[in-house]
Amino acid sequence: MPKDTLIRGPVYVLEDNIDTDLLIPACYLNLVPTIPEEYRKLGSYALAGLPDSFPKYASNPDGSTPYPIVIGGRNFGCGSSREHAPIALGAAGAKAVVAESYARIFFRNSVATGEIFPLESEKRLCGEFKTGDQAEVDIEKGTVTRLSDGAVFTLKPVGAVAPVIAAGGMFAYARQIGMIKR
């Protein structure tokens, strides 16, 4: 499905090396993402592995998140291949992660599932935003804007995976280029 490329809302700010155990602790991996009820449940546990000093991410009464944009530092999503990680973010209502760099499998899973946009910022943004700040991500323009003062930060070009992201995931892309039929 085609995704909205303009995302506006409060940001949730993290740091370097946000690993998959922080994104979705292993005790919730008994949930199967392709079962709709369990997909929603995964969303309610997104970032449940963070220390208790962090505000709850999926804090809306219905288990979704008020923060559609997550800001991270280097090596976002390191660790496990659990696709539950980008899925938990997506199921909670996250639309994009903006990080300095990504761990390979998390990035790949984000693209393959089409759950969230894994975007790379030119500079480190962890210190430029506080959790709750309003921001606008414009994927077509490649920018993140801090709405309080209009400061604009640039995103890196998406690169070789652009066609997969544009198609909406691995299956949509493979069908588009005729690699699989149905």
Binding site: D19, T34, G49, S81, H84, R108, A112, M179, R182
Partner: protein, 429 residues
């Protein structure tokens, strides 16, 4: 070309590939387990249709290992999903919990069962699938969606990784192990130092390592962000593989002039036992400099630290001694478990050595507390435990509790620590 590039070239039908190329690569083995298998199957059925057949029944291996010995209902439901799919598809390589075919931890079982062959490609729904590069295969972790795609299509879009070469020479000093080598390297290059890259390990010290020890090294390539770890096959590899499979395979090797991004050299004779402090695998420190750290639990198990040789190392130190803290022993597979009884040091079995030392009752093979898991998982942390563990990750909450602290270490260092109750250099006991 490097060994990684050559395998990817052959399996994509290209004569030459270069780092950065995006190519469709044929899958030699698709590995999945109980945590990611059900979701993978769900995607396969949703995208290819309920009546779709897998691309090749001989190339799908399902080894449930994560949540086996638990009362968790969904964990059992997930095994049932695997069973139903295996039956429906007629898959020959399924190793069912509760039956004689059950093996245990997939990354130790896969080579044991002869499913890992030099020169082939292996994709697995687990980040530690990079383990199998130890036998000269291209082996990497993927998510459910890519795995669901492979189940139907038999291939995957892969970006060819650039290679970082690590040359390890010199003689291993006593009480140094493969775990120390890979923690040393990760400490040097950091947890994202190999992101997107192949880590190729070579040199006389690698050649001298057993297959178990080589697996320990490649297993943790992903902890530096690598796509795959790989060691060129040698006679030791071929002997190991030929004893376990009759399937033909064709090993590949790096050209002497293959281009690599960087080369790092180590003289292992100069290295000392190390640990990785909480909460990242690159927080390296010398074991002897962490004597002040009192521990409450020692854990020896997992795909990187629960192989037979890991227990031989631990038993060497524990023989005739008593542990000072709660010590958990989790053999990775049933073959390893059997090995605890069959392998002897001066006439005493490893099992008897551990039991005499006062460890907790030895657990049945599975991933157990390596990744926390359901609340009733063996060895899972629930409070402020300080754990020395032979596993591969020490992230916050990794073994269950967010308050617990995990130090990664070799089986020698873990055993030495079990005997004293504080982090201990194995040369000091």
């Amino acid at each position: 070309m490097t060994i990684t590039e050559k395998i990817l070239a052959r399996e994509s039908g290209a004569s030459i590939v270069s780092p950065g190329d995006n190519i469709w690569v044929n899958c030699g083995i698709l590995l999945t387990h109980d945590v990611c298998g059900p979701g993978t199957i769900g995607i396969f059925q949703r995208e290819f249709g309920r009546d779709a057949k897998v691309f090749d029944r001989e190339k799908v291996v399902i080894l449930p290992d994560h949540y086996i010995f638990t009362a968790d209902e969904k964990a059992h439901r997930n095994i049932d999903i695997l069973r139903a799919f295996v039956k429906e598809q007629g898959l020959p390589y399924y190793y069912d919990p509760g039956t004689d075919s059950y093996c245990g931890v997939c990354h130790v079982a896969l080579p044991e069962l002869g499913h890992v062959r030099p020169g082939e490609t292996i994709f697995g729904t687990d980040s530690h699938t990079c383990t199998h590069g130890a036998l000269g295969a291209f082996s990497t972790g993927i998510g459910n969606t890519d795995a669901g795609f492979i189940l139907g299509a038999g291939k995957l879009l892969v970006k060819v990784p650039p290679t970082l070469r690590f040359v390890l020479d010199g003689e291993m000093p006593p009480y140094l192990s493969a775990k120390d080598l890979i923690l040393q390297i990760i400490g040097d290059i950091t947890v994202d130092g190999a992101t997107y890259c192949a880590m190729e390990f070579t040199g006389s010290a690698i050649a001298a390592l057993s297959i178990d020890e080589r697996c320990t090294i490649c297993n943790m390539a992903v902890e530096a962000g690598a796509k795959n770890g790989i060691i060129a096959p040698d006679q030791k590899t071929l002997d190991y593989v030929n004893a376990r499979t009759k399937k033909p395979y064709e090993p590949l090797f790096s050209d002497p002039d293959a281009k690599v991004v960087s080369e790092r050299r180590y003289d292992v004779s100069r290295l000392e036992p190390v640990v990785a402090r909480p909460h990242l695998p690159d927080r390296r420190a010398l074991a002897r400099e962490c004597r002040d750290v009192k521990v409450t639990q020692v854990y020896i198990g997992s795909c990187t630290g629960g192989k037979l040789e890991d227990f031989v190392m631990a038993a060497k130190l524990m023989k005739g001694r008593k542990v000072a803290v709660r010590t958990l022993i989790v053999p990775a597979t049933r073959t390893v478990e059997q090995g605890l009884s069959d392998t002897r040091i001066d006439g005493q079995s490893l099992r008897s050595i551990f039991e005499s030392a006062g460890v907790e009752p030895i657990a049945p093979p599975s991933c157990a507390a390596c990744l926390g898991g359901p609340y009733d998982t063996f060895g899972r942390t629930h409070g402020k435990e300080v754990v020395v563990s032979t596993t591969n990750r020490n992230f916050i909450g990794r073994m269950g509790s967010k308050e617990s602290q995990i130090y990664l270490a070799s089986p020698y260092t873990a055993a030495a620590t079990a005997l004293t109750g504080h982090i201990t250099d194995p040369r000091d006991v």
